[in-house]
Amino acid sequence: MSAVRPGRRRRDWSLAVLLLIAAWLLAFVTPAEDAATAPFVVSAQPGEEAAGRNISATVTGIRAAETLSGGWAAAGVWLIVDLEVASVLSEQGVLLGHATLQVADRSYRASERPPSLFRQTLAAGIPQSGSLAFELPDAAFAGTAVLRLGLLEAETRLDSLLEVPLDLAGVAPEAELPLQPTRWATP
């Protein structure tokens, strides 16, 4: 075997180092494993309509109370989110199944105890108004939260997920408040 010239050896080593650096950089731009099945997030502010593939919603207000009318008590504080919601394309098996509140690193699901919009069947193109109720610890009212709304409770992959940021710091809990009754938004 003929001897490798020193210049060629330096070139080969330089190329190898460059490829290693490129591989290291590639790791930074490679999407996460679940990126291919992530939900399609639609963001909106309170008062604005967020419209996804088959769900649209508008947060019309947020309130807080120690107790809900009807005797619904909680260990923490109730956060009431008033909203209007409708489906967009179809009604077959469509309901507001995913309603969560992300506060820091914790996620709270809407309570199914008091009658509310949670798990309500949606009408295509016809909004309904009502409330969602979340049981939160007192400490959650110190900052902001993100409300997430979708159709399937445990499955948000590859479908629209509505996100609305909420400022909980400006919400002062009252002693008792009622949930808005679920009804047509424009009776």
């Binding site: 179809s90 009604e91 016809i126």
Partner: protein
């Protein structure tokens, strides 16, 4: 390499001769039959597996429409369906139903003539054929009182004579049509009726 050496040595058998010829041929020539066969097998495998999966998923669902033109009727599962008609309920007819504002109530009627055995069906679905192609469910249960509470809103599995399916649909005002009524007959799946409507 031994190739030159092999050419100068006479093969002792036909098998050795064949092996020598194969060693002299290129890789593509060697595989000129197996590669196309492999391509065909791969495509066939995809087709068979995909077809099985498709059939398993769709065979039990309403996936093959039998389109019926407006004013026409069709026979499915030994039963005659149609012609389907649609009627927009006016304010006087809807006053007691308390529909929300910015909506319209559409009443769809489908005459049904059962055959020797009555059939069952899923609840009808109203579908827009243009634009976003939205779908609406039967609104009988969402209104305070159905305007046609003495008429069936779905098939009667024990019917022996002709009857009519009457289904109310609550639509937003911007739903202009044209519309079709999708009616899935259980005994005929995956075929289902798609009845065009005239308002």
């Amino acid at each position: 390499m031994s190739t030159d050496t092999e050419r100068t040595i006479a093969p002792r058998s036909r098998r050795e001769a064949r092996l020598q010829r194969r060693r002299r041929e290129g890789w593509w020539r060697l595989n000129r039959w197996s590669l196309p066969a492999l391509a065909v097998l791969i495509l066939a495998t995809i087709g068979v597996i995909g077809g099985n999966e498709w059939n398993s998923y769709f065979s039990g669902r309403a996936s093959i429409p039998v389109t019926v033109a407006a004013g026409g009727s069709a026979e499915l599962a030994g039963t005659t369906w149609g012609p389907a008609t649609a009627h927009r309920l006016d304010a006087d007819e809807t006053a007691s139903l308390q529909p929300p504002s910015a909506t319209r109530l559409l009443e769809v009627t489908v005459p049904v003539t059962p055959g020797a055995t009555a059939v069952g069906c899923q609840r009808p679905v109203l579908r827009e054929t243009d634009g976003a192609q939205r779908q609406w469910n039967d609104a009988s249960g969402t209104l305070p009182r159905s305007a046609v509470n003495d008429q069936p809103s779905s098939c009667l599995a024990d019917a022996t004579g002709p009857y009519s399916i009457v289904v109310p649909f609550l639509l937003p005002e911007n739903a202009e049509g044209p519309f079709v009524l999708d009616l899935a007959v259980t005994e005929s799946l995956p075929r289902f009726l798609r009845l065009a409507l005239i308002l």
